[in-house]
Amino acid sequence: MRTILVIFVSLLVHAGFIVAGLVYFPKNVRQFSTSQVVPLELITEIAEVTNTPEEEVEEEPVEEEAPPPEPDPEPEPEVDMSAAPETQAAPEPEPEPEPEFVPDPEPEAPAQQPSNPAPQQTQVPQEQSFDDMLRDLANSVDRERSSSSGSTQDASSSYEALGVTLADSIRSQAQPCFRSSADAPNPERLNVVVRVRLNRDGSLDGRPDILNRQAIDVSGDRYLRVARDRALAAVIECAPYRLPAEHFSIWRRIDVTFRSDG
């Protein structure tokens, strides 16, 4: 009986420490996932430098049944070359996607978070008040955390509020890069959900995933395919994101739902 109790307690304590670790030491967890991404990039590089046989373009076009009397000869039926070339300009190994390019370097707001060097896209006055808000919220959450009398309920509601504020910030940063499909027929169906993983500096940790990719592929809907590409391009183009590093555990993973009915 006593042994069972000890095992139970041991399990409980272990689980507790693991969960607490995930909350309080997210940096370690992130580093683990980063190291998983690097080999992927290397694989791409290896493939690019390798001089694969010429390329996969089908070079045998269908012959034209040239109808001589026709005044306006038809172009050939197209030959699909959807396979991207894998060959790479051999001489200069390309420096890998170092810092993401940011389109228009807007005037920077006074740096509130020194840990985030990324150019920001939102306007200065709004940003300041937003940062104040964020700091207040963060303080309140920290108080909840450190105070032994703080209840779990309060902590979670503050977390929610902080989440909403962070979500607002991400939205305002990613929105300018998103090309809407609002001019497509029935745009309300064109929803795309992108899972974004970020590094502590706000840069992308690996390529974002489309969570409803399968549904999009199965639908065969060309507008939906375009909406997917536009959503993915938006999160890539607007990275890195300027977010408070102390709340990294909250924005480490983001699910962005792009809609075109707005």
Partner: protein
Amino acid sequence: MTHFIRLLSVLFLMAVPAAAIAQQPLQVDISRGNLEPTPIAIPAFIDNGGTNDRGQDISEVIAADLESSGLFTTVDQRAFIEDVQDFNLRPRFQDWRVINADALLVGQVTRQSDGRLLVGFRLWDARLEEQLVGLQFVTAPENWRRVAHRVADAVYQQLTGESGYFDTRVIYVSESIGPRGEPMRRLAVMDQDGANPSFLTDRSYWSLLPNYSPSAQQITYVSFLDGQATTYVYDLESGRQEALFASGGTGLARIDPDGQSLSARFSPDGEQLAVSIELQAGHDIHLFDLRSRSLRRLTEHPADDVEPSFSPDGDQIVFSSSRSGGSQLYVMDANGGNVQRVSFGEGRYTAPVWSPRGDLIVFVKQQSGQFSLGVVASDGSGEERILYQGYYVDTPAWSPNGRVILFTRGDRGREGTEYEIWGIDLAGFNLRRMPINGQSSDPAWSPLIE
């Protein structure tokens, strides 16, 4: 010991909800994207020799097509950093992102041993660093413009989701003054970008109101030969023409002096024509079966029912009618049943044409001395949307993808009203004059050419 266990349990229970929140991905909703044109870089297609510098020509036609849609802007070639020399290498995407090109189109032209041109292209997404589509075409050298249009169509479709409309032609009425000062109206045809114009009918008689068949091989039009309006079917490939029905002919009494009522439109399967004919009293919508040559009456109303146009599925027909007093738009089943009014505003509604997408009907509205071009939902729901207002508007025609509308626009000139063909997109943007010399009217847009 027990105290310690309790403490740990409490700590654990407290940690779980907070941890759960922290581990859930943060949810962000973005619904307000921009509708800016997509910037695309189009370097001159790589010329592999012997093509008379077609590489630059082809890229220019593609760029003009894409820009004319209003959905793309092309990046100035002088800003290019990477000089793409090998069609089969991955571009340096960073070089293209730096000059704000979201997409990059690279292509090459090769003269084959049989003298024909091999034109290949790859469309890259500079942000996703992916090839989106790659195709190649073989064609006679003189046909290079069509290949360029086909490439533009592929790019347009890949980046917007819609079918393109660049490899199409437009038939219209060319209006001019004859040697004795008499007005002349002849049918002419050109590529949608204005290239390769030519006349289809001669100057000895008036030709009006052309409409394409779904196969783009035939047109209907109304001619005034010997002062009598007659509907013709004109086979564009063979040049053969056939008169179908005439005013004052067998059993057909009167028609409008401008021949409007005899303007026939093909059903989507190409086997029938919808036309308005006056048999006894007032005009009614009829179906003319092109195989059996039989005429079937669809509407019977003392008021005039005119200007029929099929829905793209062929199940319904929209027409204008004065049955409620002023001219309004009505939709009925293709067998003549279930007539529903779909326009309810003030003014005269005329010239309805069903969109190829099926959801909209374009119309011309005349109210207090002003003309408008507008669209309304084909089921009559929602408000009508006015796209253009002006001195005179008539004969709208849809692009095959339902995104652009061509129409006859009249403006006051030195010698009375002058007519030109203009285009506008469904959002009411990108109003553009079609590049036609002289006055023109009555556009008909071909389907995509197979």
